[in-house]
């Protein structure tokens, strides 16, 4: 259960289903991501986030097992209180896991905010995001904590980015443990 004001995203995964002839790929599954904001129509920001999510998911989904099919991932933002992209990444991974799609690894999203005085803050709230000098979002894979996707808003030096990355990789352990516990609870019934 979430306290009011926290970021929450609802994810639904459909597939492998029949693909339109124009969209089907001959050797792998065509993955499509739709991100719907809480209010208003999807705009350019949603489109760019959809592409980031799609590229991350394509890296882990074993699409070669389902050629000429379409996999659709629909994400609906229920509430936004900061760190939205990493919340979408986590929701996407849990949807893939729950639907039983073949995956080569799991991934999670971690957001770091770099404050003006140089301290690193993980999973910032909306206010902390506004005050920060730079916001970095990483998608970390479960196999040897490799980085699948990194996106930055604002400016930071290379060393600071490396430090944020190291902090994100440590934080990823907690999230993967949460995945494991959720799956365990589901299969214990």
């Amino acid at each position: 259960s979430l306290s009011p004001g926290d970021t929450s995203v609802l994810a639904g995964l459909y597939g492998p289903a029949e693909a339109k002839i124009s969209k089907e790929l001959p050797d792998r599954a065509a993955l499509e991501v739709l991100l719907r904001p809480k209010v208003g129509l999807p705009g350019v920001l949603e489109r760019s986030r959809e592409q980031l999510l799609r590229q991350t998911c394509e890296a882990v989904v074993l699409g070669v097992l389902h050629p000429r099919t379409a996999i659709s991932l629909v994400l609906q933002v229920l509430s936004d209180a900061g760190s939205l992209l990493s919340c979408c990444l986590n929701a996407a991974c849990m949807a893939l896991l729950d639907a039983g799609l073949p995956l080569s690894a799991l991934f999670c999203g971690v957001t770091c905010a770099l404050q003006p005085d140089g301290t690193i803050l993980l999973d910032p709230t909306a206010r902390q995001e506004q005050e920060a000098r730079a916001i970095l979002t990483f998608a970390i894979a479960s196999s040897e904590r490799k980085v699948l996707m990194a996106t930055t808003k604002g400016s930071c030096s290379v060393e600071e980015m490396q430090q944020c990355l190291a902090a994100a990789q440590r934080a990823a352990d907690t999230i993967f443990q949460f995945y494991r516990d959720s799956v365990r609870r589901r299969y214990s019934k």
């Binding site: 029949e18 494991r180 299969y187």
Partner: protein
Amino acid sequence: MAAERGAAAEALVGQVVLPGDLLLLPAHYDEDAEGERLRLSAGAAPQGRLLCGPGLRRSGAGLLVTKCGLLRHRPGGGGAYWVDSQQKRYVPVQGDHVIGIVTAKAGDVFRLDVGGSEPASLSYLAFEGATKRNRPNVHVGDLIYGQFVVANKDMEPEMVCIDSSGKSSGMGIIGQDGFLFKVSLGLIRKLLAPKCEIIQELSQLYPFELVLGMNGRIWVKAKTVQQTLIIVNILEACEHMTSQQRKQALAKLSGN
């Protein structure tokens, strides 16, 4: 993090595994050049082949888990490992018996919706006793119980309603009336297990006809519509009820 790579396969049997986990096989499998092929040496008994079932893929030194679920192991004949996962979407597998809905007749071939990513095809000659003159009486919207003879990721799935000896053995067009509904694949596998408790308890309630398709579809027919609907509701609820709750529900119904 490095320690997470490669846990022994036997240690994790019966536990939850997540995609990305690497399972190491016991050492005597790795002694062979490929580890999983039959040895063709004369005189020595073959070690047996390790079967890598659904949810697992061979990768380098061991097996990579691709779906989340419980790891299962069958020791007979070289051993088999697979992942028991819960899923609603069906992917056609050769040899599976499924219930299909006829959506179109295209010349000599029927198109069936089996719940997968593309429609399956069924030739009109694939019924028992069917010849070019004696065509089966199939219309659009009929239910067919058949098995897959071709089902892989590259080709359109093909179904037949006869087995290898030409007999229908229960397959073919499903009769009139009855009720078709969809459940998850895990429940179907549970119902198909030998001596399933749910089926035994239900059969003591009312007599009924039941067809289970591996694609998650169940067809039920009892004497009256009300009895049919009661059985449908119980089967749908079985996914979430424990056996205790189910026994209570059935006791209440048989008391009425």
